[in-house]
Assembly symmetry: C2
Homo-oligomer: 102 residues x 2
Amino acid sequence: MKTQDHAFLSEETIEDISLMFKALADPTRIRILYMLAQEECSVNHIAEVLDLSQSAVSHQLSYLRTLRLVKHRRSGTAMIYSCDDNHVISLLKQAITHSEHT
Amino acid sequence: MKTQDHAFLSEETIEDISLMFKALADPTRIRILYMLAQEECSVNHIAEVLDLSQSAVSHQLSYLRTLRLVKHRRSGTAMIYSCDDNHVISLLKQAITHSEHT
DNA sequence: TCTGTATATGAACATATGCTCATATATGAA
DNA sequence: TTCATATATGAGCATATGTTCATATACAGA
């Protein structure tokens, strides 16, 4: 197959996709996203349930927020986070299903 | 929701999934896998088409081989690589479709 | 065997990543 | 306002990552 016959992805698409997969490529973020896929959670709740430091969770949530994969709202002194990208959750669940059936 | 009421992923599943997503989290590997999804290719062909060094391509293919995402066979002096994990290709294509329709 | 082409691989390097620690900010109660 | 709780964030650090460079290995043809 010659170079000009290949289908190519645009730079923008490649960048977009790699950022999405990067977000899913870390055990901590997988665990956080999997929790948020079940229900919205406060930062402390995530930290306690997953046995992580408050700071580590907050940093990761900030990262996920930048990519618009999660959103948050204030509730008193707490911040309640929830998923904001169903497609990424769908990719995650698909990967889980595949992994658990191998 | 209390800690014991959460659904948790096994350590093994989390590790497995993060490795899979890590493989898809780099622009070079995305481009290589996308090429191989179209047809099997030699190392040099990939390097030429994608304008990468032979060494960089070989290193990445070695990486993808370790994860069993690609396989290879010899053809004379050339090594012909092809995809060996349909599910990962499916995840990639799904991400592409999503990205291009946003 | 010698030569050329194709691929693999180890070392080194620059950058990215994920965490901790310390501290800043924000809200609610007293 | 003052204090306690919840969250955010910057700096620093150890490790991981992706590439280049040099070189090793493997096969085909003369």
